[in-house]
């Protein structure tokens, strides 16, 4: 790793009730790269992602031990306000969840809650982030329309713009293309490749091809354990573990 790790997870164990979901996870996620968390459904990828910005707090009976250091600050045991930590990380969910307001306000929402209320500035920033998400040209004449009037692919880009608007350092993406058509998926993937200059991207996926197309760094998970991690080349071409090898060959069940 040529750069220092942005996120370091040490001995993370997580239980939902009696269900041991994450087992002794030790992971490093490098800065300004696309790190793909890969693995079959139900292996704990999403849970790992959601523990980064502490969305797991919303679950009943959740027990966590270990530490998650982001910029050397332990987010699990911090005394800082949780909203400050979450603001560092934009989330792109499995399917778009636009807010129940118009397109402009969807992006302006993030700006307003971070205290920016100057109308002129809001307009300029909203345009900037919509351009960043490659959505501006499609929506510039209908900013007052409801976010529901957009297609699913457009909604997902709107959610990306909204996520970028709070100026995060990290983008957490939880199978962001699973509800999208192939064309919209490609648009999102390309966007990620452009965005990695400025952001650290953590992408959860079960699609091997997607991981192979854009991953710099790969974490392979199976049944709540991290079996393998390293550069894309290492994991895809020289997997150490039998299960990883099978998954990559495609004869996995």
């Amino acid at each position: 790793m040529d750069r220092p790790a942005k996120i370091v997870i040490k001995d993370l164990n997580l239980y939902f009730g009696k269900n041991h979901v994450l087992k002794n996870v030790n992971v490093q996620i490098p800065e300004h790269k696309i790190t793909v968390i890969l693995g079959p459904s139900g292996c704990g990828k999403t849970t790992l992602l959601k523990s980064l910005n502490r969305l797991i707090d919303l679950n009943p009976n959740v027990k966590v031990s270990g530490s998650i250091l982001i910029d050397e600050e332990d987010v699990l045991h911090t005394r800082k306000d949780i909203t400050q930590i979450r603001r560092k990380m934009g989330l792109l969910a499995q399917r778009p969840y636009p807010l129940p307001m118009n397109i402009f306000n969807n992006v302006a929402f993030g700006l307003r809650i971070s205290g920016r209320r100057n109308q002129l500035m809001l307009k300029r920033r909203v345009q900037h982030y919509l351009e960043q998400a490659n959505l501006w040209n499609e929506v510039k004449d209908r900013l007052k329309d409801s976010a529901t009037s957009l297609s699913i692919g457009q909604q997902q880009r709107l959610c990306l713009a909204r996520g970028l608007s709070v100026d995060p350092e990290i983008i957490l993406a939880d199978e962001p293309t699973s509800a999208l058509d192939p064309l919209s998926s490609m648009a999102i993937e390309q966007k990620f490749v452009e965005l990695k200059k400025n952001y650290t991207i953590v992408l959860v996926t079960h699609i091997l091809q997607q991981a192979q197309r854009i991953a710099d760094h790969v974490i392979f998970m199976y049944m709540g354990e991290v079996l393998e991690q390293g550069s894309a080349d290492e994991v895809f071409n020289h997997p150490k573990h039998e299960i990883t090898r099978n998954f990559i060959k495609g004869n996995f069940n």
């Binding site: 009943p60 979450r86 976010a147 529901t148």
Partner: protein, 287 residues
């Protein structure tokens, strides 16, 4: 008999059952409405709507029920607003802040449902005993508070049911932006479940304006229009009750006319609120 035939018979049986229960219910409601209109409309006059009872009104002489119309509107609007101001934060708190404590929230829901089933006379008696303790006389404010307590369980549970339908992903997305839970509550959840919240308001209002027992002891009855919160107040359900208990036919007919007025008030409020809801609710996200 083959499996297939049994399935067809089953399908046919339940379809007939559903058809008859639906038409049965609708016909009964129409019949009630019809009988109210039949008996009430002939006695309905501008005089009834625009005047307070004059001496001898309850013996069939002149006067109207303006006191009860105004009183009922004061009382039910006041208590609906008060219950909304208290109930909305409770429901939001249950669904957003307490999302981790499912059991606790379900217990609260259970108790609210129980309270929903308590007859309104119990609320009236409770309100009355509290009034005696504090030495308050029957008044508009005592009625508003009692009715508020009476409709709160409905208000909270109806809003709660609306909030329950908001998908978890929306909460996660909003929190991920660094929003606090209160910002999520009032700027996102409130908008997303607006139509459900409006339904909650209408349900509560309907129950508030239609109930006689809870206001029997607490607001009292008077022939005057109240000019302050400390005065006793007439209400339409009680007005109907007093007129119906009269042996004079003409007065009984006026009771039905009062029921028509009550129905029309509820109709007007429902339709206008629904109209506003449509205009405000175009941004709801459908999942």
């Amino acid at each position: 008999m083959t499996d297939k035939r049994i399935r067809y018979i089953e399908e046919g049986f339940f379809r007939v059952l559903m058809f008859f229960s639906t038409t049965g219910i609708v016909l009964t409601l129409l019949l009630i409405l019809f009988s109210i209109l039949m008996k009430g409309l002939p006695s309905l006059s501008w005089e009834m709507l625009s005047q307070t009872p004059k001496g001898g009104f309850y013996y069939g002489k002149e006067g109207g029920i303006l006191n009860a119309i105004i009183g009922s509107l004061y009382l039910s609007l006041g208590s609906t607003i008060l219950a909304f101001v208290i109930g909305l934060p409770v429901a939001l708190f249950m669904n957003i802040h307490l999302i981790r404590y499912k059991r606790l929230v379900n217990a609260v829901r259970f108790f609210l449902d129980l309270l929903w089933g308590v007859p309104s006379i119990v609320y009236g008696a409770f309100g009355f005993s509290v009034m005696i303790y504090f030495g308050i006389k029957a008044s508009l404010i005592a009625g508003i508070v009692t009715v508020t307590v009476f409709i709160l369980p409905i208000m909270i549970r109806a809003i709660d049911e609306a909030l329950k339908t908001v998908p978890r992903g929306l909460l996660e997305s909003t929190l991920s932006l660094g929003a606090t839970r209160s910002e999520t509550s009032y700027r996102v959840y409130f908008r997303q479940s607006f139509s459900g919240i409006v339904t909650a308001l209408l349900l509560s209002f309907g129950r508030a304006i239609g109930d006689a027992a809870s206001v029997l002891f607490t607001t009292g009855y008077t022939d005057h229009i109240p000019t302050s919160l400390n005065q006793p107040t007439a209400t339409l359900p009680l007005s109907i009750f007093f007129q119906l208990s009269s042996p004079i036919q003409e007065v009984q007919n006026r009771a039905y006319a009062s029921a028509v007025v009550l129905t029309i008030i509820i109709l007007i409020i429902s339709l206008s609120v629904r109209y506003f809801e449509k205009r405000f609710h175009k941004h709801k996200i459908k999942f």
